[in-house]
């Protein structure tokens, strides 16, 4: 429900917001008024509009990071399990090694140098996030590989790719879905964290950026400025958690005692 609401807000942001999120005015640092429901920021921009548009940024970021990560993971993990042999070992090695490297540190350093905008951010987050998921997909594919209908498909002459797309992926879809949600959740978190550290493109309209700015004026007790994006973040992450949780219950029926 919450997730749907957020998506609707993200899609309708331009309709719901009374101002352009980047429009300046000379009314800087105003408290909430009837014109500016949540007041204005230090550049006279309307906070309410920015929070609405921030939803959009977060969703876009989450969606694309999750899509790219899961696709990469499915392609590499799935193919490794199907093809096997040296290729599998090679992929597994890469996965193992990448998993050992503390990627978070690398993300921070790269971001600090590049000040990524939304596109760059999505790429950086995706590149470092796929190995864990790939490992799960590989092991699940291995299990599936031994199952009757896939063996059947194989005996009828289905190629590896055909099997991957026609049988494995659909069978894996619950797991893919739950990984998708988990990565989406992480992406939202990471974006906010990087923005908070001030190492994202400050021109981006995102919750993290809004919070980062607001905190610079925390001495003015600008609660109306800090709380809405923070709440947005919390709600979005929680929404993802719930969806993920619900999915897990479906995948793993044993959880229902």
């Amino acid at each position: 429900m919450l997730a749907v609401l957020l998506i609707v807000v993200g899609l309708l942001a331009p309709l719901l917001s009374p101002y352009e999120p980047t429009a300046f005015s000379e009314n800087t640092l105003q408290g909430p008024t009837s014109q500016h429901w949540l007041g204005t920021n230090d550049l006279g921009q309307d906070i309410w509009s920015r929070v609405l548009f921030g939803t959009r940024t977060s969703l876009i970021n989450a969606f694309f990071v999750a899509i790219i990560t899961v696709t990469l993971a499915a392609a590499l993990g799935g193919s490794a399990a199907l093809i096997g042999g040296l290729y599998e070992r090679f992929i597994l090695r890469i996965i193992d090694i990448l998993l050992i490297i503390p990627n978070i540190v690398l993300i921070i350093v790269i971001a600090a140098y590049l000040r990524p905008g939304i596109v760059m951010l999505i790429l950086i987050l995706s590149v470092f996030d796929w190995p864990g998921c790939a490992r799960i997909i590989r092991s699940q594919t291995l299990i599936l590989k031994g199952k009757a209908h896939i063996l059947a498909a194989k005996t009828f002459g289905g190629g590896d790719l055909y099997i991957l797309f026609k049988h494995i992926i659909p069978d894996l879809s619950p797991i893919l879905m739950s990984s998708f949600i988990a990565h989406a959740r992480r992406a939202v978190f990471m974006e906010a964290g990087l923005a908070f550290l001030g190492i994202a493109d400050p021109a981006m309209v995102s919750w993290g950026i809004i919070i980062n700015r607001a905190l610079q004026y925390s001495y003015l007790s600008v609660w109306y400025w800090i709380i809405p994006p923070a709440l947005g973040l919390a709600v979005m992450v929680t929404a993802f958690s719930y969806v993920g949780y619900a999915l897990e219950e479906i995948i793993n029926p044993r959880l229902k005692v």
């Binding site: 980047t22 300046f24 005015s25 000379e26 800087t28 640092l29 230090d42 550049l43 006279g44 600090a112 140098y113 590049l114 000040r115 905008g117 001030g198 190492i199 493109d201 400050p202 021109a203 905190l215 610079q216 004026y217 925390s218 001495y219 003015l220």
Partner: protein
């Protein structure tokens, strides 16, 4: 049943933690009350500015200031911004010899008890040849000699007006008996590197915690400091106002929005002068930015007043096209002011061959686009400038990068427009030369105008103040016509303090122009 058990244990753990910290609190209060009368505390958001010896403090204003409490210069600026004697009692310029003569004080002792003499001054100048000191350029000093044990004569290669401010008033004099044994001062952080003649001695420096503790030098030749201990502590930028309010610190910088509130609470708020500027830089190696007329068009087309009102929320002075801030004694108002005039800007652009097609300008039926490169704190400025340029029909994009990256790209001329900022506009007007001619990224690196070039060189050699002022007026006039770079605004900063010590912003800044309200003279009785 089980729930309550768990809850009880949890509550107990929390209570335990709380009670522990409660104890800590009590202890701390007793301590601070006991000490409050003798320690003067300065809050700083960065904390660590390096080991406060001349060669090891970080090359930033706050680092220099922490060093300046321990080391003295020959002369120093007082509350009014004029030079008063420090290690030198008297000084004069001997025009015939192009030399300065400094009469040194005879009653000065180093912190370790040794006497200070002319030999120390000569040694320092010598030492600098081997180990350059970033804050003073001594390349124009020909030689120095001691006329007697307490008189030094410094011969110049040619007349050099900034010598007083940037060498005599900036260069810390080193103790010969100690530094002669130090071969790599950049890495030397033993305690004897801190033997100076200044009003304070360092008791402790802690890099991790960003704290400094100083004790008064009771034998200081200008009188004993009126506080026994001075400490710098590190507090996050947003927390400094609270620290000043609740007495954790005696002074600290505060944001403009809190000025009224602090005044109402009986604290004094100091207002800085304007020696820092946000600047629009042009790539002078690339058309159309290399074209004077184009730069003038932008100067008319950018609403600098709006920048002040929005990005600085009114707490800044509008940038002068002549570069020198209006409250600077060298400022001249006889220059083209470029009040916001988009019509005129558009006309100039038309003259350059730009045609408005639909919303945007084209030249030779190619759309004209511009990229502004900027970093963190200027991103708001850049967006505002973009708005103005868009209005002129110049399709503009803003690219935000990390500050150091922007600096690097500026150095390599790989940009079109850059918005960044720098300080140093307070001290000796030699800064004009550094910011126009030098090959650093803050400089416009503009050497095309021969007249400007020769005037700039001339002003450095003009010791007479009035003549120099005339030259600078002329320089500003030409600068405002050529606009090698456009100063957008000069922000105002504020420092709050209680009544214990009367701090002040030294007019023109400390030493070579550091805009920090911590003149060591304010601690003397």
């Amino acid at each position: 049943m089980k729930i309550s058990k768990r809850t009880i244990i949890l509550t107990m753990i929390i209570l335990l933690l709380l009670s522990l910290t409660g104890c800590g609190r009590e202890n701390k209060e007793k301590k601070t009350v006991f000490q409050e009368d003798e320690v003067y505390t300065i809050a700083d958001s960065t904390g660590d500015w390096g080991f406060p010896a001349p060669y090891t403090h970080y090359n930033r204003g706050p680092g220099y200031v922490r060093m300046s409490l321990i080391f003295d210069t020959l002369i120093w600026k007082d509350k009014t911004g004029s030079f008063v004697g420090a290690l030198a009692q008297k000084w004069e310029y001997v025009e015939d010899d192009t030399a300065f003569v400094f009469q040194l004080r005879k009653d000065v002792k180093w912190h370790d008890g040794e006497s200070f003499t002319a030999a120390d001054v000569l040694f320092t100048l010598d030492y600098l040849k081997e180990h350059p000191y970033s804050w003073s350029d001594i390349s124009l000093i020909d030689r120095a000699e001691a006329l007697d044990s307490h008189t030094v004569k410094v011969y110049l290669k040619k007349a050099y007006a900034p010598l007083l401010a940037n060498v005599a008033g900036t260069l810390p004099i080193l103790p010969r008996h100690i530094y002669k044994n130090i071969n790599s001062p950049l890495e030397y952080t033993e305690s004897d590197a801190l033997v100076g003649t200044g009003p304070f001695k360092l008791v402790d420096y802690n890099k991790e915690h960003g704290t400094y503790l100083y004790a008064a030098n009771e034998d200081y030749y200008l009188g004993q400091p009126r506080i026994n201990k001075l400490q710098f502590i590190k507090i996050g930028e947003q927390m400094i106002p609270n620290a000043v309010l609740d007495g954790t610190a005696n002074t600290g910088s505060i944001p403009p929005e809190l000025v009224e509130q602090f005044k109402a609470k009986g604290l004094t708020v100091l207002v800085s002068d304007h020696s820092w500027n946000a600047k629009l830089k042009f790539n002078l190696q690339e058309e159309p930015f290399a074209n004077k007329k184009f730069r003038q068009a932008l100067a008319y087309g950018i609403d600098r007043k709006k920048l002040v009102n929005i990005s600085q929320r009114g707490h800044a002075v509008i940038g002068s096209p002549g570069f020198i801030p209006p409250d600077n004694p060298w400022y001249s108002s006889e220059i083209e002011q470029y009040d916001y005039n988009p019509e005129k800007a558009r006309k100039l652009l038309e003259e350059l061959g730009y045609v408005l097609e639909r919303e945007f300008l084209e030249k030779g039926s190619k759309p004209f686009t511009v990229e502004i490169l900027t970093s963190g704190r200027f991103s708001g400025d850049a967006e505002l400038v973009k708005n103005d340029l868009d209005k002129l029909g110049i399709k503009t994009t803003v690219r935000s990068m990390d500050g150091k990256t922007v600096d690097a790209r500026t150095t390599e001329w790989s940009f079109q427009l850059v918005i960044s900022g720098h300080g140093g506009l307070g001290g000796d007007p030699a800064f004009f030369n550094t910011n126009v001619l030098a090959d650093t990224f803050h400089s416009a690196r503009y050497k095309d105008n021969q007249e400007l070039l020769s005037l700039l060189n001339q002003q450095l050699e003009t010791i007479d103040e009035n003549k120099r002022r005339e030259l600078l007026a002329e320089i500003q006039k030409i600068y405002a016509i050529d606009i090698p770079a456009l100063s957008l605004y000069y922000p105002t900063t504020y420092e709050a303090m209680d009544s214990k010590v009367d701090l002040y912003y030294t007019p023109g800044g400390l030493a070579s122009g550091i805009p920090i309200a911590l003149n060591k003279l304010s601690f003397l009785q």
